[in-house]
Symmetry: C2
Amino acid sequence: VLVTLKDVARRAGVSTATAGRVLGGYGYSSAESRRKVLRAARELGYRVDAVARSLATGRTNAIGLVVADIENPFFAEAARGVSDVAAEHGNTVILANTDEDVGKEETAITVLLEKRVDGLIVTPASSEHQENLAPLLTQGFAVVMLDRKVEGLAADSVLVQNIEGARQAVAYLINLGHKRIGAVCDSLQITTNIERIAGYRQAHAEAGLPLDESLIRVGGYTRQAALEETKALLALPCPPTALFAANNFMTIGALLAIRETGRSIPKDVALVGFDDMDWTTLCQPQLTTVAQPVYELGRVAAERLLARIKGDQSPPAEIRLPVELVVRESCGVMG
Amino acid sequence: VLVTLKDVARRAGVSTATAGRVLGGYGYSSAESRRKVLRAARELGYRVDAVARSLATGRTNAIGLVVADIENPFFAEAARGVSDVAAEHGNTVILANTDEDVGKEETAITVLLEKRVDGLIVTPASSEHQENLAPLLTQGFAVVMLDRKVEGLAADSVLVQNIEGARQAVAYLINLGHKRIGAVCDSLQITTNIERIAGYRQAHAEAGLPLDESLIRVGGYTRQAALEETKALLALPCPPTALFAANNFMTIGALLAIRETGRSIPKDVALVGFDDMDWTTLCQPQLTTVAQPVYELGRVAAERLLARIKGDQSPPAEIRLPVELVVRESCGVMG
DNA sequence: TTGAAAGCGCTAACAG
DNA sequence: CTGTTAGCGCTTTCAA
């Protein structure tokens, strides 16, 4: 069933080397042989075997994309950015999910390396566990971190301005007069959470507002966990009057908890979420959120990776994309 | 940098064949050589080269997944199902987006075939254009259609009960007393739309309710297009009192149009959407929708594909997964 | 500009 | 159970 270069060469009456040169687009070839080879290839229905080519060249033109969960709209959008850039450059992307599990992450990376991807874009499950990636980097293998970074790892990372975004969101709440602002986030192993909570603290400090540590709730990375943490917050003797949700899953959980406890937004509690999804304008009241350029995050990461693969030797960069506080209705009448 | 089987064999004092047998897990090997080889491999940091293995075996253990747009939560969820099954079976998935464009679909398929994927899961952009896939199928290549099918193509397809779901939804609306029910869908090149509109018609027929063709609006596959079609519907001299949106993007567009025209749900217009997303319970009023087992759709498609790859020769099957009308608040007080 | 030939790293007969 | 020996299909010197 499969037509090889040799078949094409024979039919075209040239050597496989020549056939390879025209079909592979490398080296020299005369117009004459080009015509003959192309014709033979067409007639035979030839299709290069990228596997064989990869074995010969040492490149696969494939990049590995390791995310927590492609079902999370955040990762889906970032993946689209990665995928588009990859496709534009004739690269293909192999997808892997980790569910924020370091073990699965390791497995995924191993598989991808065995497949000999040219580089890796990773959303690390832990900011500390660098055993998986460090050896690769010292070998000069191309890796870029997406959305999060790993402390002390000499890799490019493409992130957003988490501290600044959280700071703005919380400052906004403080300016509205809130004194007790709850924060719901998932694992503090993840740099986005660390930074967003840092921004939350910074806003308090700047306003001279004392911070009650019990208002910071750290849970799992599911909507359900966020729901429970938020409920715990609302059940406090002196509950918060405003909530900051550190990502889109946390926002959903918070929303559910607020509803389940019979409260209403913004009358009983104000809410601002990090990460703007398209449904945030569909709900009532419309949500005030910190919007981030997610698609762009994916694009930039992929561009960085391809540059590295191409040989870019510049020192590892930390790229920060801007975020924007989008004021809508969930903290009281329009901002 | 890269350690090969030969290196391991030399260090272990055996032939590359033996080293390959233990590391590759095929053929026979004594406990003795197994120990030596494993040890040598560990010491050297050996990692199989899947590219070389694929060239030798003719299998890549990779499947291609071609969807319209991974950013659409529907495809993201299905992709997760595919990805999970693939991972469970030691397979990897290469992702490609088509944006519902037949040309891009063709390009994507070509690239995946060159990469020598073992099989393809495709969400076809057109129910008619079968030039891309038909030749593959006659060659015995494994292909399964996800969510949609292509007329006359002898491939497995994993779909949901579109007609039945739409019929139920519209019948529900009719029972509520609605006489003029608008329908918003995207391209009728896509079988899901064809079938859902068929269900819409069927419900009318069964109820003996005359159907006004001008109430069926077909637009592009974006939220924006849906918004415009819905607005056109609402601007009719005698506008519909209820709306059926054929998929999640259409639902968003409809929602936006309803709001932009200053109407309210369900007072001015009732709405039921096809495909239940998690935000549908977050909005006010909560949306009544036809829920489909999206993750399962992906899983089943992947299982079917792997079975084919493994050699299953049974005649092409059309698998229909059940849907369920979830009544909430967007058609009036709770069902 | 072309062809011959040597790999890329692994698997798969086939003897032994 | 192990080693030898061919490849898998392509790219890449190296001469011509």
